[in-house]
Symmetry: D3
Subunit: 158 residues, 6 copies
């Protein structure tokens, strides 16, 4: 079976994000249409292996900032598709992931948004309409990423 190399959009700044990230990681590993080994996982490619959460001095380190940004951008450029774990709840909505959704759309790349199962929030219009498909995380493991078919988000937007 064919497999796609994904850029894995993910957030790790609060427990809800972390929970979605871990569920999503398991589902991606289980998905037979994903080439997980060659996929780009941002947390594994922070410059020099340093995470801001453990090295707060990086917050102001321009070399770290530029190198990590460029690596993430190239990670998207060099992947077949973007699959982003995204929780639209205001306190969980990660601007990094949303920026990546817009960037990938601008590159005419297939973009998949993966929501938590229990989400009841509406989504913003731009990431909602700009996605190739939007799904719940419990559907991620069995989704067929080999079919790049546009399906309009059927939830509510603001």
């Amino acid at each position: 079976m064919k497999t796609k190399v994904a850029y894995f959009g993910e957030s790790w700044f609060n427990p809800a994000q972390e929970a979605l990230r871990l569920k999503g990681t398991e589902a991606m590993k289980a998905n037979p249409t994903i080439d997980w080994d060659n996929s780009f996982v941002p947390i594994d490619h922070q410059y020099k292996g340093l995470l801001v959460s453990e090295n707060p001095e990086l917050l102001a380190d321009k070399e770290w900032q530029l190198a990590t940004f460029n690596a993430d951008v190239q990670g998207m450029n060099n992947s077949d598709i973007v699959v982003a774990m995204y929780d639209p709840k205001m306190e969980n909505s990660d601007p990094g992931v949303v920026w990546e959704l817009g960037y990938a759309y601008g590159l005419h790349k297939a973009v998949y948004v993966v929501l938590p199962d229990e989400v009841e929030e509406d989504m913003n219009l731009m990431p909602a309409m700009g996605a190739t498909q939007i799904m719940k995380v419990s559907d991620l493991a069995t989704f067929d990423f080999n079919k790049g078919v546009y399906a309009i988000f059927d939830g509510a937007v603001y």
Copy 2:
């Protein structure tokens, strides 16, 4: 003096966003390097003149969603630059504006992020590094948009 046609990134979903939007609008009108008359202001181009805030049934109207999304995307395509009012505070960070920052960067377009004066929050790495310049709203009226020079954000990122 030369002037630039801007796509004006803006949010109107809570009072803090609304305050920044109004301050930003005044500053853009006052800026001699901005062609405000020909700039694209999203709130003025909602499909058929309908706003979700006043017409909640639009939340689920696919025609309105698609037409408004396409109009916003074309608004960015057809502008010289993107100037976005953006408050990085979690409760004010608008995913629509952040998506637009990523999209415009993907199109190799100049992107300017305008923060509230009083902001003390760090910014996410992607919108911070992906901006041509980042400024406070009180500097907006006098900023020279004719010089598209990259200046790295000097604040902290996460």
Copy 3:
């Protein structure tokens, strides 16, 4: 053997177009370098499964128009190559297919134009020079799409 995911440019508005479409479909299915199962066939992705030919009220339905257009555009974005059935005879030349050829060229994507075997018409300069290769439909089943090599159209143009 490697296979390519194609966007299948096709027309179904008159018998000559329909005949070419059906011959082309058979050839694509037979071609060992095409991943037909994952290819995008526009007639299978009309919004809500509705065809204008059977539902003439769609001619003026904005939601159907926008959703079908966006789906076709994403179909091209998310495919490896575009393979278009195209008859340059004035009465068979489908503007939809020609628009797609131009769009795909603008995205730096490989574009293959498949002509009817019996065509004696010249081609317009733009779709002719903008194609990676141009072939007759009887050559389609055995063409090797894994080699993306440019070969200038050897017919006449206007």
Copy 4:
């Protein structure tokens, strides 16, 4: 008043096309928002000044074909907007113009389609939805090209 540099999409292969081309040319010259002197008019930039209609041997001249194609493509690249005279009647629909509409859309460029006044034909979905605005030729002289606002075609499509 600001002016836009246009790529002028035009056809000269039959009398109806020629009539539309001439009307459109007059209207463009009269439009105060168009920089006609610097606009790109394809018929003026055929390679070495040679037209196929007067030099039929060019039909098969590869140097002429490549050079004219590349010049037209650069003409679009280097213009602010594309303004195309287009008659959707089957016998007048020029594949060259339609290809250019698709190409320009792929480049995220503003695309304006100008129809004959008397047209009663439906338009194909792709050029109709992919246009920033569609107008009649009698409205061309007074249209404000400084506002790049998307307006969905209000006619019927197929």
Copy 5:
């Protein structure tokens, strides 16, 4: 008269390059179709104002390298055209300028190559064919950059 904002491709690594750079600078300042004040001149935008030639330790400074690279790339993104001083003589051919010519062509941007007057070298095929126009530096001051017309290099290539 309208003016274009240029990215000024330039080299300062040997006396021949320096001489061409200075002649080109004077000509650009004299050209009435160039907006020199808003044009991007790389030597003026080295990160923190530091030049490698005077600060050899920058050769290995990753922050300086990344920030200067990103600024140059944005300089091209945010300019109307690229005008590059380029000497094809092997010992004067600057890879930085040539890279920029390729990058700008990939962005569908107008690219002008300015040669020394006395050059007798052939040019490489890629920068030669990928340029909108190629001229001698003595013609630069009076060239009309408002007309983005493709003219094939009439010299020899290898």
Copy 6:
């Protein structure tokens, strides 16, 4: 194992370039992550099979120039990655290869630069920072091209 289709950047204008080209060719053939059969090798796609080195009259043949240029550009467009043999020594630095590196970066494509083993020259900033990875030719046969991860050049730049 998955394989990538490469555009093979190469030079054959002096013995040092020729030696690197041959070493690189062997390494690419040996690399299990490269699909060499479907990769684009420019020297094999000169228009009509003619090489300038053996047919010096091509230096001034516009048809040959345009057709070879367009074929090389399409070769990059239609490949997964660009792998370029590049010697930064002034007398070996090929402007054609450097132009291709810039072009491919502009298309958001993964770019790999392969240096001679013995190189002691610094690299120019633009091709150095614009590369996904830079390696020595003796590492080429075993490099894993399935992982498109950005790694900043660790040598010196000018």
